[in-house]
């Protein structure tokens, strides 16, 4: 069934068709509609889930960790300050191997207060052990929730589905809501092997000395590596059932591209128009959209960047004291490659400043003239 949905409601429907069993959340702009709709769904019985209306995001995540460890499917959504407030429990979720799926609306951190989009909130959770997926439209938001459960529950790793504040969260688009029986076919109920169960009493998370701890962390990394393969498989399986294809990365007009724009989320979807406009002038440019950021698709990135002359990474985030964060990651992935092209890093659109197709065309044309990068950050869209 096709419906006009805001990105936030796409998250709610994603949780609904995935049959989340325990939901726990705390309100924060611009996430509120996600939990408002889920509250209605639970109240009406349309979704058979327990909704714990907690007093903080730290508690929202703690409650889901407890629920997931007891063997049920869980969902929450947050943004920015809320995500930061959860930080301790994000590590706990990954360490406890609880496959929680969470929506995060990318919003800039305070101070000064901002409600507009930027990726620093989710990227500052990079090393928590959560998988991270940056969606480019509302259909992908909904579809990614379903896929995230499948990958997360295969490896008992938590997953974050991320969408841009307002650009997606409050923008209405036509979205196909998959039929329940098809989702059930794709996503079986969650079965947890070791859970809180009085028939099998175990202790979870007790003190691990240096003789034990190391291997448990190794296992999280190995699960991440396997998850990288699984995301691709799940994307193909999803296409067979629902007709929409997804992978770790998405490419657009790269087969004959001389140069490449690399970006994520909604800047990447806007960049598609920029690529079309540049191609209409005979410029052979392609687009690489990084969809899944953790596990990092280094293999896919290398395969594409090895065959271009230059690449420009556009970041709506900043690692203070260094550079754009996707830029750091792409450069690191390419460093040992023989044919590494010059890679340029652009930081733009912080705090939700608009990045239009025209802006991306200007970024491309001005940057691509350079032989090689003169600095780690090329600032674009700054006021004089």
């Amino acid at each position: 069934m096709k419906q006009v949905l805001m990105g936030n409601h796409a998250l709610s429907y994603g949780a609904k068709v995935s049959r989340a069993q325990v939901i726990s959340a705390y309100p924060i702009t611009p996430q509120t509609e996600v939990v408002e709709l889920l509250s209605k769904m639970c109240a009406s019985g349309e979704l058979k889930a327990k909704f714990i209306k907690v007093e903080s995001e730290h508690s929202a995540m703690a409650a889901l960790i407890g629920a997931s460890a007891t063997g049920v499917r869980t969902f929450t959504a947050t943004s920015s300050q809320g995500l930061a407030h959860m930080h301790e429990m994000l590590h706990w979720a990954a360490g406890a191997r609880t496959p929680i799926v969470m929506g995060n609306v990318n919003r800039a951190f305070a101070p000064p207060w901002s409600v507009w989009t930027e990726q620093n909130d989710s990227l500052s959770q990079r090393d928590t052990g959560w998988m991270q997926l940056y969606a480019q439209n509302n259909q992908e938001v909904l579809d990614s929730v379903i896929q995230a459960y499948k990958v997360a529950e295969t490896f008992d790793l938590p997953a974050m589905v991320i969408l841009a504040a307002f650009v997606l969260s409050h923008t209405s688009e036509t979205v196909e809501i998959p039929k329940q029986e098809k989702v059930d076919e794709f996503l079986p109920p969650y079965e947890r092997e070791y859970k809180l169960d009085t028939d099998q009493p175990h202790a979870f998370g007790g003190l691990a000395d240096p003789d034990n701890y190391f291997e448990l962390r190794y296992k999280i990394q190995k699960a991440m590596e396997k998850a990288a393969v699984k995301w691709e498989e799940v994307g193909e399986e999803f296409e067979e059932i629902f007709g929409r294809k997804y992978g770790l990365v998405e490419t657009y007009k790269v087969s004959d591209a001389k140069n490449l724009i690399v970006s994520s989320a909604t800047i990447a979807s806007t960049a598609r128009n920029a690529v079309d406009a540049l191609r209409s002038k005979g410029i052979k440019v392609g687009l690489l959209r990084i969809r899944v950021f953790r596990p990092f698709p280094a293999k896919q990135i290398r395969a594409i960047l090895n065959s271009v002359d230059k690449a420009i990474v556009i970041d709506r985030n900043i690692g203070f004291g260094a550079s754009g964060i996707f830029y750091q990651e792409v450069k690191a992935a390419m460093y040992n490659e023989k044919n590494t092209p010059p890679i340029f890093g652009v930081v733009t659109g912080l705090g939700g400043r608009d990045v239009s197709s025209k802006d991306i065309i200007e970024i491309y044309q001005s940057v691509i003239r350079e032989e090689e990068p003169k600095s780690d950050i090329i600032w674009k869209g700054l006021k004089e």
Binding site: V22, V54, H58, G66, A69, T70, G71, L196, A203, F204
Partner: protein
């Protein structure tokens, strides 16, 4: 003497607690009352160590370690997951005073306001004992801790956790003492059979942190009750206060305080001040328990 204490032991023998630890006795009695259909949620506290390192566990029930500020919230999630699976298992948040009075107070208040179905237990040893005897808001006035040295002992009163919980109007609140195990077990059984948020505050002397000889643990727990420092009571729905042990012939607080190194530095004037505080608190309590 024929004590009415269940024989079954759900807590094992041999553990990592200090000699004379009051908190181990508390768990032993609590599990006897609650039985094996119980899941424990455990934030950072002495019991994090006592239960044993990975992959061991001292208790024969499922136990989930969680973060310091996350006992009640994690327990809420466990309970919700059990409910959606149609299970009626007891969920117990087993916490120290740091997690209850300080870092986890917000989440405890949240779970209490929602009346989430759990038994929240605070085994109160009146300081951050596991990290090395730092003061908490449960530490009594005048006490030495490693962050309230004798040159500047704790200046403020112990936080009145019971009244805070009563203000939430939860179905059941009780205090218990390891020196009165029958009373304690009765209260835990009563709590087990009530739905919603149940809060139990168990007084647990700590030889390491209070600086006394380990064999005095039970004696000190008893003296705290007899000196009116730790009243044994029950509160139903936040309004019906009842003393479960009336103290008709109280002993002076000094009988309790003088056995502990943490109060050794106090002069007569200070000891008198503490006696006055205890008497005042008892009068307030009696007014609440009046019919």
């Amino acid at each position: 003497m024929n004590l009415k204490i269940p024989k079954e032991e759900i807590m094992g023998h041999g553990n990592l607690a200090c000699q004379g630890c009051g908190a181990t006795l508390a768990m032993r009695h609590a599990l006897k009352a609650l039985g094996k259909d119980t899941i424990i949620v455990l934030p950072a506290c002495c019991w994090t160590v006592i239960d044993g390192p990975f992959p061991h566990s001292l208790v024969d029930v499922p136990l989930f370690h969680t973060a310091f500020a996350a006992a009640a919230s994690t327990a809420s999630g466990v309970k919700a997951a059990l409910e959606i699976q149609g299970k009626d298992t007891n969920v117990v948040a087993w916490t120290g005073d740091g997690a209850t009075y300080d870092i986890g107070l917000g989440t405890l208040s949240g779970a209490a306001e929602r009346n989430d179905d759990m038994i929240y237990v605070c085994y109160d040893n009146e300081a951050y004992m596991n990290t090395g005897i730092q003061r908490s808001s449960s530490t009594p006035i005048g006490a030495w801790t490693t962050t309230t040295p004798v040159e500047s002992p704790k200046k403020s009163r112990k936080k009145d956790m019971i009244s805070i919980m009563a203000a939430h109007r939860i179905p059941y609140i009780a205090t218990a003492s390891i020196a009165y195990p029958e009373d304690m077990i009765e209260k835990f059984k009563k709590a087990r059979d009530i739905k919603g948020m149940r809060f139990l505050l168990v007084f647990c002397p700590c030889p390491t942190g209070w600086k006394y000889a380990p064999q005095l643990t039970v004696k000190l727990a008893r003296l705290a009750v007899r000196s009116k420092i730790f009243p044994l009571l029950e509160i139903e729905n936040g309004v019906k206060w009842k003393l479960t042990k009336d103290i008709t012939r109280p002993i002076p607080v000094t009988d309790y305080l003088k056995l502990q190194g943490r109060f050794k530095h106090l002069n007569d004037e200070k000891l008198e001040e503490i006696q006055k505080i205890v008497d005042e608190d008892w009068d307030i309590l009696l007014r609440k328990t009046e019919k």
